[in-house]
Symmetry: C2
Subunit: 428 residues, 2 copies
């Protein structure tokens, strides 16, 4: 039985999950892969809160040198958030020749080139399965399982907080604030949920998926990002009438003009596989050129799902698979960046909800402006006017250039045909 | 650029798919993993049907010695069906020290112990991602991605022919024969579809999944198998009334009594993720102890999806990952077999459709027999009698021992309460 020593940096949700699984399942891992895994050193800013016995042999401290300087440590689990000190800690481990497993999506997304270059220089791998979609092994699926495919598109639900909020708004008829509070009560949302609901967290994960799928550096800044903070109960109701659900969808898609990268609340038809991904689950839908469409769903966050992915990476490192992978898959882009297409060029089906005064000619006016600009209507629905005389007209379009559609909607608003600025959504 | 030579045995659907992908996507693979993959030798029973130029350099022949005796061949793609000659060919390659990639599920399921022992003796890996669920990388997910989990249950749709037939019976209201003919017309079903529709093919795949998930040899003979050949339009209609779909489900589940292994037509509630797996797609639902529930769906068969998985394995072999895996994951059980539970002990929700004469006391009689045997009814539905005076009573039960339920149904039939033998189904 080979004994393996893990150095753990950080003792938050992910680090705690790793300790929990090793405490309970070490014998299972010994049986399954012949490795005796132990955390021999924990480095945390608050070592006093942990008993020294939490780490086997080595103990608990606050000095990274206790890991980088310890020749007995085989692999480092980097379970630290943020992109400041977290980056320095990761680089220090690489410089010391330690393979690193991290769950830090922001760090990989924003500093991937620097980190992978440092890893290549040090001759050690960085593994990061846990950085995207928690316990779902989707990094390995895209990079290894689908290696013989061009990845034509990824559409993914990557933030459990947003998906839980949208699920509750639909199923429990809660408004946004109620649903957010419910998510916080269950621990799905942070006390400050800004980076979840504004789409930033999803964009970080999309940048990582796109880097693997497109084999190119995808800067986070190239991703157009809208969050779900403006979604109202009216939007949820409109989606239901159209046989759709609203999901926060991260898209990376090859087009003839370049890579279409965006995060946006999107109408997902109920018969699309992603529509069935509910509550705090994540789902990654991949269009692979040879394998065809695939869907991966499961828990995208939480201590144990994330630690499950971390420990899969630890095993990959210890048995030599991670090194074999990093020798062959260059995740360091070396300066090349794909051309990305902007919203104006994006080809998408679209939705608009017009609030209109009850007077003749409005419907004809809207239809004429859409037609003049080459927007092909797939379906149109007009409700009876409300007591105030205003009516709602909903339009679903066939795919068109996003810029053309938004310009048409702006023209409709500018022509005085609507009673307030028109709500638009993309459609999957 | 490292040149790698593949020896291909068999030139059917899978072998053709491998040639197609390498013909079209060789440059993509070079860019992505730095390997220049070529099929340098094809061995087939019908070499005359292929031009020698189909293989780079080596040519086409019918003699396996042209692969086993060729020191330049790095890896063998074994794309031969059956368990007779196919086994000898695979063993010959192992004996010659060649790593082997195979898509042959029957061979791995029925002779896995012998094959993995031979591979271990030869010090080369056998890779078989393509043997289960086609292009979906589910072997790697279970073995590697979920390594830090006890797999508590797998419920899977593993045969695209059956799933297509069941989908058409529901959506196009075809009867079984019409749906089968449609599947054959689309190439989803073989001319002789027996092994698909009787559940044998699904059982082979389940045996492989269970071997990995339970880390133990699971003989195909331990799997209770029912096919879909007896499913009628009445069953499909009943399922719809109950908010379910009928799917051919392969189950491997840990219970306190042992491993529950069965393949059977099963009522799947519409809100279960597997209910959304339609047409010829496969779906694998996994309950993992730390990562939680996960679902993987996609194309489970066909030339390109299967070849996608084969080539992922080829890359794994060539960059050393497959060898690292096979050194650590013992798939050769060495004589241990898990205890498996029989139908009598299986804990399952059940369904029965009783055709009853229209006379008083029948419903009470059925309810009494179920109650006496400890079967707890979840819902009961009685239609108005048809013109012939007979009525249908449908019962869904809470989970109970399958043996108790079947005994109760037999007692109900024996008591003369029913007009014909009662139809039963499991419920997911």
């Amino acid at each position: 039985m080979r004994r393996c020593a893990i150095g753990l940096i950080g003792w938050g949700t992910v680090g705690g999950g790793v300790l929990d699984i090793l405490h309970r399942d070490a014998a299972m891992l010994r049986d399954r892969v012949g490795l005796d895994l132990r955390v021999s050193r924990i480095v945390t800013r608050t070592p006093g809160r942990l008993p020294a016995s939490a780490a086997h042999g080595g103990g608990v401290s606050s000095d990274i040198a206790d890991i980088t300087g310890d020749p007995t440590i085989d692999v480092v689990v980097h379970a630290v958030g943020g992109t400041g000190a977290a980056k320095d800690l990761l680089l220090a481990c690489l410089a010391a020749g330690k393979p690193v497993v991290t769950a830090n999506k922001a760090l990989i997304a924003e500093h991937g080139d620097e980190l992978f270059a440092a890893a290549a220089a040090a001759g050690v791998p960085i593994a990061f399965e846990a950085a995207v979609a928690g316990g779902i092994p989707v990094i390995a699926a895209l990079r290894d399982g689908l290696v013989a495919n061009r990845i034509d598109a990824i559409h993914a639900i990557l933030n459990g907080t947003c998906n839980y909020i949208l699920t509750m708004m639909e199923q429990a008829e809660q408004d946004f604030a109620e649903a957010l509070a419910a998510a916080q009560g269950l621990g799905y949302a942070e006390a400050d949920p800004t980076l979840d609901i504004d789409g930033t967290d999803t964009a970080h994960k999309l940048a990582i998926l796109a880097r693997i799928a497109a084999a190119a550096a995808v800067p986070v800044s190239a991703i157009r990002v809208e969050g779900i903070q403006a979604i109202t109960s009216d939007d949820i109701a409109s989606a239901a009438r159209l046989g759709c659900r609203i999901k926060l969808i991260a898209t990376a898609r090859r087009t003839t003009a370049g890579l279409d990268l965006h995060v946006a609340p999107t109408l997902v038809p109920l018969d699309h596989p992603l529509a069935a991904v509910m509550r705090n689950h994540n789902g990654v839908f991949v269009e692979a050129s040879n394998a065809g469409p695939q869907l991966f769903t499961g828990q995208g966050a939480g201590a144990l799902p994330t630690a499950s992915a971390v420990l899969a990476d630890v095993v990959d490192v210890l048995i030599g698979r991670a090194a074999a992978t990093s020798r062959h898959f260059s995740l360091f882009a070396g300066g090349t960046q794909p051309r990305t297409v902007g919203e104006a060029e994006e080809i998408t089906g679209s939705y608009a909800r017009f609030l209109v005064p009850d007077r003749s000619g409005v419907l004809a006016g809207i239809a004429r402006i859409l037609g003049d600009r080459g927007i092909s209507v797939q379906s149109l629905h007009q409700d009876r006017p409300a007591a105030d005389g205003r009516a709602i007209i909903e339009v679903l379009t066939h795919p068109s250039r996003g810029g053309d559609f938004l310009a048409a909607v702006a023209a409709i608003d500018a022509a005085g045909l609507t009673a307030k600025p028109t709500v638009t959504l993309r459609r999957l």
